[in-house]
Amino acid sequence: MRTQYRLGIDAGGTFTDFVLAERNGNVRLFKVLSTPSDPTRAIRNGLDLITEETGIAAGEIVANSDLCINGTTVGLNALITHRGAKTALIATRGHEDSIEIRLGHKEDGYRYDPEYPPATMLAPRYLRRGVRERVISNGTVHTPLNEDDVRAACRHFLNEGVESVAISFVWSVLHPAHELRAAEIVREMMPDVLLTVGSQLYPQVREYTRTSTAVVNAYLGPILRRYVEAVDAHFAALGARNPVRYFQSNGGLAKGSVVSDQSVYAINSGPASAPQAALYIGEPWDEKNIITIDMGGTSFDITLTRDGKANINKNIDFLRYRIGIPMIQVETLGAGGGSIGWIDEMGLLQMGPQSAGSEPGPACYGQGGEEPTTTDANITLGYLSDEGLVGGRLPLDRDKARQAIRDKLADPLGISVEKAAHGMFTIVNNNMVNGIRRVSVERGYDPRDFVLMGAGGATGAHITALAREIGIRKVLVSKLASGLCAYGQIISDVKYNYMAPAPTRLEGAEAAKKLDTLFGELEARGIADLEADEFTRDRISIRRSLDMRYTGQVHECTVEIEAGSIDEAGLDAIRSAFHARHRELYTYDEPHSAVEVVNIESTIQGHVENPKRMHLAAGKGADTALKGRRPMVFDASGATTDTPVYDGGKLGAGDRVSGPAVIEEVTTTLVIEPGWTADLHESGVYVITSTTAA
């Protein structure tokens, strides 16, 4: 029997989005409130809602879905609230404190702040035990493993009721035997704990990063395991034909058992699907260079794909914990619809990062909020309708918005309410532009070479202004924008990362052979894992990258290369790619300096067939969708322009709207600034282009 559906469930901070794609191309979005205290409840509630609205029983949908996909914030929430498992660490004696020393650094921005607290320890000092053992930098054993020390540590942990244990030794990546033997002892003495082994989870050079990654994984593992077991059981009971797939921060899907053992991969998965969705939506125009922005109530997430590949972060501080594994780069700013405008100690107008959240919310919600927010600015500027958001389900009070802006900002600054509102709009946009620089300029890319894609309910009001500010001339916004991440997850592939340390100077036949062999080994493992998961070889693809630097440097740049055998001539090509990347990033290269590889990685993907694309009927001209006019502010002076408003639901394929204009969709409002034109494409995507000369 052919399956009829694919179901995606993306849990966010406030809402859990459900996307139900039918084989014929119909796609429907549903939203329920997230339930962080019992995450599976939101899933049950959502399935009930779908049944209520479609009349189809949950069991029927699940049993007729080829895949059910879940992006979860369970790990993220546990890390934010410090409600992970009771976690212990076994380390090389003398190095138990590296995760508490944190390289001796205090985060920038808090240099003289007497109240900024140290990071909470996920494995407190009394649960960190050093054992006698040591491997040195050439991979040889300096001190053999003292097994009694490991046993003593286990006895201590048993007494303390530890639930999860991480093992991480210095240079274990070059000689894993000590860690593996210690792991055997732990399994023997503590069969019930979840065990994380540093050199297996993250086989890359850098002790602090590896240990910290292992500890985060150990801390989250038991929580994810319980969650996955509950979700898997629920879907199995509903008659799911395939195991539930979970979305990971690397932008790919994984089975439940992988997520339980490698929970650190599931840590920030939600927004990591944006690049995949962006590529899919941009496909009809062959767009592969896309910056995606997702503005919700409290935050603004930015991702970037270039040549069809998303920016990857490795070895970064995430919520103050160092994490090594590759994650899709998601730059998150406190710049959402609820971000509050305020005047700082120096007298400067600022926006966020504080947010009015959903309670009390922006002043215009009329729920007692008195602080002026981005949403208040947008309604004052006329961009949002008094009828309110979500098709009128959330009415907005324009007078309350104006009053908050007048009292808190316009009067103190001595300017008009309209000018202050436009100032708020400009500053929040400027914060976003600075965030966009972090994914583009700081990666050596010129953002003007990209198209901008909107996601999230609040983005539409800002998107043409942002594009103008950055110098981008083409913008894409899907009708599904408010559920873009959930949509991205259902069109993603299964993806696993395989890594190895490979300290090698990039010259000579030996080096070529070494890299060739190492990549070969990684990929053989990856292919075997996916074949065991029923992917045939023709559906498996491989991508390779190397972390490289000039000899003597300590930070690497990542360079992607084609799969295939590597010989000496291949090394030349790798070296040239590295010089070019260095120049792109840092304005110069050193063609005569020696180049070395530090770590290598293969990403193995198992391709999942995409559901059919949405198809809109041809429109009858934009005039038929005109629903009214209202005054709007597009100018820093605060002057207003009488502007037409269109009902997006009545626009069809081929319809064109010229700015200034507003297009109101049920879950988002699109502001088309003067100098921009929006064309609705048959795939349900607004193509918005600048009409001014470049």
Binding site: I101, P118, I136, H142, V170, V554, Y586, T587
Partner: protein, 583 residues
Amino acid sequence: MAIPEVDPITLSVVRGVLETTQREMTLALEQTARSSVFNLAHDYSTALFNHTPEMILQGQDIPIHLGSLIPAMKAVDSFFEGDIHEGDLILHNDPDYAGSHIIDTCMYYPVFYQGELVFWTVCKGHLTDIGGPVPAGYNPDAKEIYAEGLRIPPIKIWDRGTPRNDILNMLLTNMRARRDQEGDFNALIGACQVGARNLIALLDKYGKQTVQDCIEVLLDMANRHMSKLIAEVPDGTYSGTAILEDAGHGFGDFEITATVLIEGENCHITIDSPPQIPYFINSYEGNSYSGVYLGLMMFAQLPPPYNEGLYRNVTVDMGPKGTLCNAKSPAPHMNCTTTPMETLTDAVRLAFEKAAPDKVSASWGHANGCNIAGWDTRHDEEYVTMVLASIISGAGATATQDGWHACGPECCFGALTSGDIEMLEHSYPIIIHEYGLMEDSGGAGKHRGGSGTRWQVEPLDSPMTLITFGEGRRIPAMGAAGAKSEMIDKKVGRLELTRDGRTQVITDNVIETIHPGERAANMNPGGGGFGPAFERDPQRVVDDVRNGLVSIEGARRDYGVVISDAQTLQIDAEATSKLRASA
């Protein structure tokens, strides 16, 4: 000076661009540098100046670098008397031109717009070597600055866009580990270019006049902010004296005194220090500015952004020329960015603690570290570096919380990073046997000072020269608001050398040769506590004991908490009340 009228929105945007520019300069520098001191340890700083030249944005990098960049930029600018052209690039390190110590090398890049000098992008970084008789520059035997390395007055290394390769070659020829130094020069130059690129885009967008007006307003705002904080302090004279311990020179301990005169919104700081000595702890005036400004920031506790406006209402008299804190040539000075700077900072901090009691945090542990050098047989090349992991001390406790562990030294205030130990062992032929927190090292207090660290090293396969510097081996970090410790010997740093099974404790600055099989452990002090230690919640003392941060003996002696059972960590409540009452 009339403050221009500017659009408040444009003002916020300009501020954001300046901060982004500095951030991108910092990233470029860190990612490309060769020496571990730069790229693992963050021992570099970036700043932006306008044409006058006034510092318009101070990066959130190393405090010791940034105070001195203000007079240094002015000294460099006036040296050339207007002979500055588009495409010039200036290098400088000399303390006679307000450099800090000569191993900190500065690059100054003038940014021209439509033919006119508008900005300077500036970087400073600690190289691993600057020539001279002792690798890494720290020479405890130096009697004059000439015995410390190469003095470089302001010189152009690019002249109207053309690199002066003869000059660069001359400089690099005089330095050890040339490849690293050359790579670090490139990194500094690259960062200046990144900064210039951004500033020109800003000028293109808003025009020169608007940008300059906004910057004038930003300087004024910072000035008003600091003035307001000063005005909140009662008028009067407040004085603080800190003791600088004799770390091997034989001249005895010294006193450094700071006198802070507050009059309305103005503040005048006078420094008294003894005559300079023929030992590497003299501080020239530029460097001393960093120490004074850090003491001021420990009072002001301001969030970013930082610019020179902060200091407009603050005047400083560094004392007569030829004194320890206002040295004159040829005083040796290499240790100055830590010693005597941290004692100078403490004196200023203490004066402000008297002016604003219960606000100012405790002192941080002082730097007491080492440099290493030798031959790397793995690549058949020499190596030399300062080991930043060897100077990581504890932070001072504050009015609201315990001090951070392993966050110092005071002169760096958490801006350093000590580097991953595998990367250090990869870069240098060493084995790091230990890098951990030390029991009982945090200053006792109602809020405990952060713990100091112990770093133990052994050379891999060939002898290694180890040169120590700093102090804080006898006098612990100063507590605040009545905090003091009983177990002083645990709160201070030292060097322990283990040879043939015997351990020697060294508290002077020395040059030692360490052979494979021998070990050197460098210990760094903890931070000072805040408030009376006997007022600390006994349960928190027990938590510290459980975590091995305080010993059972330390609980009793430092905190008056008697733990009756070493296994369960049960408190003897009666004995504890009695002991605490007796204090």
